[in-house]
């Protein structure tokens, strides 16, 4: 598969009253065309900030550190000016957000908000843009789109509004769609419809999707690959079957163990003890070790590098080094 997005050593810094904080440190990942990468992790682990930083939408006191490198197709995004990034936003990369109820501007019609990216990026006339807006609403499954374009957001339900958001994001046929928990605020039935819609549109437009979520059920539904984040770091990346069937990092294992299972009567729900450390909390060694049931002396002293499980699967855990050594010794002996 062709590579679409390449992120290397992404580090995000915030200037705050307590000095510089880095909620995201040294993360690297790739997204390919037609692929869905799910970013999972607890609230506050840095997954939303990561997606906002790709769009160039960090809050005013946030910035991407100099050593970071982001490339979309053949364009290097790091080092681009705000205005150059703006021309890419809503055009070659788009984003949909968690709260459909507040993500649309209440004082403009749905039609106006849909036409806006078309005016900006494709310089369409009002008539062409309106035609396109109706088509887009139809495409995302909104009945009676001609009437809907004239309505205001408050006249639409939450599911409808999220469809409008999706239509807006896809107006200029972006190659990368970032979805930040787009179904978290919706009913389960609507959630499934929205996931199906995103999946269909991905197939049709051959987009790469970054899907941020903390819901493992959603991950199982739509992910091709999964990236697990913990306290601003990537702890494990792999294909979805690998992550679900053979999770390597103790944190991923913990996440999966804390998903309820209705089919298995024997299944007991487990939680990961402790809470996510603060952004400015200094932790020596692996950042997960205070909560890790398998932590060793080495974990407390030295942060683990990234170890390969196989070609497409990595884990940032000392246990993986051990496993790799054992593997080698069994194959050689």
């Amino acid at each position: 598969m062709e590579q679409l997005l390449d992120v290397q050593n992404l580090k995000i810094q915030f200037r705050t009253g307590e000095g510089k904080l880095s909620p995201v440190r040294d993360i690297s990942f790739q997204v390919h065309k037609g692929e869905t990468l799910c970013i999972v992790g607890e609230s506050g682990c840095g997954k939303s900030i990561t997606s906002l930083s790709l769009m160039g939408l960090l809050p005013a006191n946030g910035e991407i550190a100099e050593e970071s490198f982001i490339k979309l197709d053949s364009d290097e995004l790091t080092g681009k000016s705000q205005d150059e990034l703006r021309k890419l936003r809503g055009n070659r990369m788009s984003m949909i957000f968690q709260e459909p109820m507040t993500a649309l501007n209440p004082v403009f019609t749905v039609g106006y908000q849909l036409r806006e990216p078309l005016y900006i990026h494709q310089k369409l006339s009002r008539k062409e843009a309106n035609q396109k807006a109706v088509e887009l609403l139809d495409k995302v499954g909104i009945p009676d789109p001609k009437k809907r374009v004239k309505q205001y957001p408050h006249e639409l339900s939450g599911g409808m509004r999220q469809r409008v958001m999706i239509a807006m994001a896809l107006a200029c046929k972006p190659s990368l769609l970032i979805a930040d928990e787009p179904t978290t605020a919706l009913d389960v039935t609507i959630q499934a419809q929205i996931l199906d819609l995103i999946e269909d549109l991905k197939q049709e437009m051959d987009m790469g999707i970054i899907f941020v979520t903390h819901d493992m059920g959603v991950v199982a539904e739509i992910a091709d690959r999964v990236m697990v984040m913990y306290a601003g770091e990537v702890v494990e990346i792999g294909e979805v079957e690998e992550i679900f069937n053979h999770p390597k990092h103790p944190y991923t294992q913990g996440l999966l163990a804390s998903v309820p299972n209705v089919e298995d009567d024997e299944h007991t729900l487990e939680s990961i003890p402790g809470t996510l450390p603060n952004v400015n909390e200094k932790i020596e060694g692996c950042r997960f070790h205070p909560r890790c049931p398998l932590a060793t002396e080495q974990c407390r002293k030295q942060a683990p590098p990234i170890f390969h499980v196989n070609e497409n699967h990595t884990s940032k855990c000392w246990l993986q080094e051990e496993a790799n050594i054992n593997d080698k010794s069994t194959t050689t002996s």
């Binding site: 890419l88 809503g90 993500a103 209440p106």
Partner: protein
């Protein structure tokens, strides 16, 4: 929308009846006899009785009230005890001065207030924000009579750029505009300060909202994000402040009209109160109350135009 206007019209009627009753009664209960003032210090008791008879002041208060209201319904607000001029005519000649002054002050207030408030918000904690909020606080605290006198001292007496007072040239002439500048700044400063503070706080809230992030995510230019997407939302609460301020400017410019010697409604009212000129006071108070209600109605209509979520059906 029509329903709202009709409903408000009836509210206005009830309000005006209530206000007229209160003003009428309080004027008659207040100490001071208009007959004594009209007759002067040399008038005898029988002269005063004749004056009372002439003005109908010897009738029971309620009867006087109904007589008065009969006239009001026909547009006749009675005759001034002092000048014998019809009150309606006095109001018609003086209202344009007050109205022009109120409009000019509101232009000053809205332009300065909204722009300063918004720049303050988008450059929060900058030197501009800091000085603008400080000036706004001063603007609210400084009394009109002092500010007016100081402006006259600097721009009229010392520099000689603008006239000391008066408002007699039409507002569209250069002379008329020159006459309006200082009183408009005097009156507009407090409103500008209030509008600036309100704009700043609502704008701060709006620029952090999800739909502003959505606009940026679509690639909307930063200028349009602020002046199109954010401004219209931020203005909704500011419109209320503008309406209330405009309403009180239309009736409450007494001090500024005094300082700048402008013949407006405020001076008419204050002169009426000083000389126990009941019809003048009643007429002007009724006018001010009616204007206030009408301005509020206009605010409600503008609301519905700016915010599609508001409907009066």
């Amino acid at each position: 929308m029509l329903g709202l206007i009709v409903r408000r019209f009836f509210q206005l009627l009830i309000l005006l009846i209530g206000i007229s009753l209160i003003v009428f009664m309080s004027m008659h209960l207040a100490p001071g006899d208009p007959a004594a003032i009209i007759g002067g210090p040399t008038a005898s008791e029988s002269d005063m009785e004749a004056i009372r008879e002439d003005l109908g002041l010897n009738k029971p208060v309620l009867v006087q009230y109904f007589d008065y209201m009969k006239g009001v319904v026909q547009g006749d607000l009675g005759y001034s005890y002092q000048t014998n001029q019809a009150v309606t005519a006095a109001i018609i000649t003086r209202f344009p001065n007050t109205f022009n002054l109120a409009i000019a002050s509101m232009i000053v207030a809205v332009v300065i207030g909204v722009i300063a408030g918004i720049i303050s918000a988008i450059k929060q904690n900058s030197w501009f924000d800091l000085s603008s909020t400080t000036i706004a606080l001063a603007g609210i605290s400084i009394p009109n009579f002092w500010l007016g006198s100081m402006l006259i001292l600097v721009f009229s007496v010392t520099l000689g750029w603008l006239p000391v007072g008066g408002l007699n040239a039409p507002f569209y002439t250069l002379e008329g505009m020159k006459q309006l500048i200082l009183p408009a700044i005097t009156l507009g400063t407090a409103s500008a300060a209030m509008i600036a503070r309100m704009s700043r706080s609502t704008m701060l809230e709006v620029v952090r909202s999800d739909y502003i992030r959505t606009a940026r995510a679509k690639g909307v230019k930063e200028k349009s994000v602020i002046w199109l997407h954010a401004l219209r939302n931020a203005m909704i609460p500011v419109i209320t402040v503008i309406g209330v301020n405009f309403g009180s400017l239309l009736g409450g410019t007494i001090i500024t009209e005094q300082v700048f010697a402008i013949n407006g409604i405020g001076r008419l009212m204050i002169d009426g109160i000083a000389s126990r000129d009941f019809p003048v006071v009643q007429g002007t108070v009724l006018l001010v109350a009616a204007l206030f209600v009408i301005v509020n109605l206009i605010v409600d209509i503008v609301y519905a135009m700016v915010d599609p979520r508001i409907s009066y059906e």
